[in-house]
Symmetry: D2
Subunit: 362 residues, 4 copies
């Protein structure tokens, strides 16, 4: 319970630091008899890989995943799947300075305060590099959901800085998300986002944004009141991702200015199923899925690493000015999209297995 | 792991339904040798109690708490504290209609979908009445935090409908919050909020809002990366509260439009401690407390129960029109304030005990 | 995670002290739509009740259970079932002496060492009285197993002092166990056990023993390797019962002197099912049920409370002689039988729900 | 919660199969700022390594451990430690036959029943090879306990077949255990055990036994009543080890024939500490450590793999005769000693961290 595991039924345990020899995740509780090959996972990892476009850090990592256990003759066996991703491009000389001072906006100070020690190379354990292991585990969850339940998880960049995309979340699909390097299916907005990132990079600055996620075909009835509500677990999953500052479901913070008479989603029958005419709920009521699409948004702060001089203090408590070096994304949003997909899929599958048992009802 | 427990170290297990003979919470993991009497808990319960003002449901419940275990001669013993709150005013005849149809915006349909059965009286398990047990447990957590660590948790109504209070969160205190019946320390805004609630009630409608919470004097170093981050657990805690739709920390969704150069909080020394000049982080970096005030906001939807005819379907799948009766608050916000306080305190204490051991380092 | 909860899916949270106003257990994760009334639980409680025969403590408690939540119109709703058992016969004046000195064989010293405080009345939290709450929860588990799966749990007193019953575990049934006041289905041995208890009581002494438990019709495939093996969880469940000193499954400690050629249970087909010719495994292999009867034994130490002067030390560290007063069973075995039944049933159901999901596959 | 994790605070997650490319364990919750190198772990692994003596399987594995994360400049950082042990000697051709039939005494049938699939090579996940990862994790726990608390864990072979060693558990030390290849500090008994193993091997048979473990210098006060008692967790830990059939603490099953007047351990003062004159309790009362040595015994069945024809059935349900090939130990006891040490140390450290917090009170 020391923080590096997530999920009760589909349970992932993540390990690794930015500049260690490898990072990885152990997946315990994957249903047996599901076809699984490294290629299934690699596809998702490639979406998160550094160096994939001009928008991302120049650090180049192949991020090739190895499956070390839990698969026999191409099928999962129900036993833990150990996923290992070797790190190859780990230049540690850039980090001498930050070993002795706390980077603003980073977790240097808090790790030092908690543990009395920290691995400073590339941010060590607090680096977003550890999300590669999450994406790998999430690829397995997404595959199961898609193949067994036709559940699809689709995230995209809805907002970058002041640029807000005009997107109907119910109509987006993965191909549209992947059609440009900022992962925004609104082509015009994507252009402006790319321009904004370039501009920020030139100014040695960074920019925040919002990712929206839509999950379709979730069966009604998933979620465990009172405290393990499906939306509560999604909120936790999202706030566990590096650089996130907020989560909202359905109407979200916009609900504050609404009246009950407009917010309540009226029920009706459609194709023999109970559905709602609107979806302000965002697909979850009382912590349990309604069967309508689950829609939520996650706020990401601007990348903390910027190549500007910043005021800070040293480990010894002396004032200093620090200029973060290293290799960084001017905005984490495009590469965070597959991380949101991963954590969302893991959360949904976890609750699905709570309902069906460890083998996923098969 | 069936959903009714929260916390790993200070662990609460909540039970009860709206119209049952009683509701309650078992607190396991309360540090020993802390003075505790029923009056300590009652004070917080009275803040949540129905019928406390014109703003709330006319259901009248004394909500008198009983401590059934875990306290010996006025001191906690480290063993489970069983808290019981008898229900007295349970009129079940109002609920015949909703037994057969699903109320829009409520969890009737989702409980039915999940369990194949539900207790319809007053919403059964999905009723906000169960938060009384949470408030009782939270009173214990708040007392420990206040007495041992000088940590204070102060929530207030920041927004109600379109009315947004002008409040400096760093300056608010509990007495100001309690100075009016909507629990908004901005007196002028409070007036308008009261008017808005009255107006909504007259229109048989309801209104949403935002509660802000500030937690002071949290020591740096609390939180367990990667997945049990302090903010991730706070997000989960808040989304577990009835009627919530969003959570944001520090800059929150506002961070999307900010640049790293403005968002990063510069470090400096103050009184021998590392502090930040600004607090966009909201007191948490990398999932670990910084020592700065923890500031977050929670969105609450408008009360789903409104005395208007609404379109819905019956349990048998037939279209119908339902007019919710029963006794309801036009806005849940004023009475949700102590619930936010409770869940926040439980989360902070839980992480504090992770750092210090079960006895709280005493 | 502070120790008072057991089970991951069918999860019980136990609270209360010997001389408090009540004791109880919250059951979270009981499958919905199961018929349940207080009488179903009372039957098991009556088997554990003090004062039921000349063999047990003269303390008289009706131990009438109340269901406070989780049941609607006679059916479980899938939400927490709060079970409350008021205590009526709590004479606290007997305990002045033991407040100041540690009773040998009891947990007085260890509770003091751990918590720095303890409730001394009747042993407080360490009293076997708290097992009443366990028996109540176990009654629910037994009912589900019996009705849905035809799984029966049958424990009996196999050994008391040097008296060992001649019983074929595969043939025993509950009625035979209940046919005498020591709960030993071997009538001749039961006579000697009764005589031994009387003799011990006259000598102001106590006596230990062994309870054997057999669980029939458990489907093959339950148990979670590596660490949540079914036998590992049964071992934990049994060692969690007061006064137990050992657990063994199938051949148990006797396996040490056996050869593999005799110990291995040969497989064969019977009625279309894979069965074993012998059952040295005790119904579990590799931590997973085989489908054969699960057979295990639990060692209970002689009651620590004896009305003899015993050497000990005071809370202040001074040597003293203590003569335990209060009301005690000369042997805990007869009343421990329903506790073993309860913990066994809870453990089996917990693993069954891991396999089938929260609703038990219904 | 799918079975491959153990511990709540010092939490290990184990993965791997007998003939996969590697096995390993992730340790989450190791206190920070402890010196740790691969050599510290290798020493324990070498004690478990196959091929170390004539008593063990001829399978030759170097079992060289790699630390992939969680250590910076020779010190633990408080973040997960990923331990990887590559497998080199994996001959899969021996296992064609057992893919189609269930080996008696092995988990082939139960894994098939649970998962509907299994990796048959070398027993796959149910192989004792996975305990290498446990031993590696346990080496870390033992190092912390020894260095910070002077707590030592010492297991040895007390019984092999009918040969019972005459050993005073309170006097044994690690060097005496390691003085011969059966790990029995009674030299004369060790001779007879070696002879018995040779004789069993010649007869293509195997032999069971009992390992005793003594843990010294555990501080009083560790353990979480009611269900996470220290002895309950030790029992679970031991039954989680392959081939175990029983656990007993202190007087163990022998307590059945004892009277309270002889079993109760009288308290006295010694060196300013509360101690007991005898230790029938085995160092734990009411689930909490007394400060006296913790003493327990674990029963191991004879190795299921024997090179004799055995009756069984095929996966298709046809009777057949199977003669297990592969490479096996005639008795698992000598190599199980470090596994018992490991699980014991992990359990003790886990409870120690519950008392002191994640950093071990440093």
């Amino acid at each position: 319970m020391a923080g590096s595991s997530f999920g009760r039924h589909f349970r992932i345990t993540n390990w690794g630091e930015s500049h260690g020899p490898a990072i990885g995740t152990v997946v315990d509780g994957c249903p047996p008899r599901m076809e699984l090959a490294e290629g299934d996972i690699q596809a998702e990892l490639d979406r998160r890989r550094p160096g994939q476009s001009a928008m991302t850090t120049p650090r180049s990592e192949a991020d090739k995943v190895q499956i070390l256990s839990g698969v026999f003759r191409g099928q999962t066996t129900g036993t833990p799947i150990s996923l290992l991703i070797p790190s190859t491009n780990t230049i540690s000389q850039d980090y001498d300075e930050i070993e002795h001072a706390f980077r603003p906006g980073h977790a240097d100070f808090t790790y030092q305060a908690k543990y009395g020690i920290r691995n400073p190379f590339g941010g060590g354990r607090s680096s977003a590099r550890v999300t590669a292991g999450i994406v790998a585990a999430g690829a397995i969850a997404q595959k199961f959901l898609r193949e067994q339940l036709n559940v699809t998880v689709t995230s995209y960049v809805r907002q970058l800085g002041a640029v807000v995309a005009a997107v109907n979340p119910e109509a987006i699909h993965r191909a549209a998300v992947e059609s440009n390097i900022v992962r925004c299916p609104d082509a015009a907005a994507a252009e402006r986002m790319i321009a904004l990132i370039k501009e920020s990079a030139e100014k040695h600055d960074s920019v925040g944004g919002v990712i929206e996620c839509i999950i379709r075909n979730v069966p009604p009835g998933l979620g465990d009141p009172i405290f393990d509500k499906l939306d509560a677990d999604l909120a936790k999953a999202m706030l566990a991702i590096n650089a996130t500052k907020g989560f909202e479901l359905g109407s979200g913070f916009g609900c504050a200015a609404m009246h009950g008479s407009e917010h309540n989603d009226a029920y009706e029958m459609k194709g023999g199923k109970v559905v709602t005419k609107t979806n302000h709920a965002g697909g979850i009521l009382g912590g349990i899925s309604t069967g309508m699409p689950i829609v939520f948004r996650v706020a990401f702060k601007p990348t903390a690493s910027i190549a500007q001089p910043q005021q800070t203090v040293t480990v010894k408590g002396e004032a200093t000015v620090l200029e973060t070096k290293g290799r960084h994304d001017p905005s984490v949003l495009p590469r965070a999209v597959p991380v949101v997909d991963a954590m969302a899929a893991i959360t949904i599958l976890d609750h699905y297995l709570a309902a069906t048992g460890f083998a996923g009802g098969r």
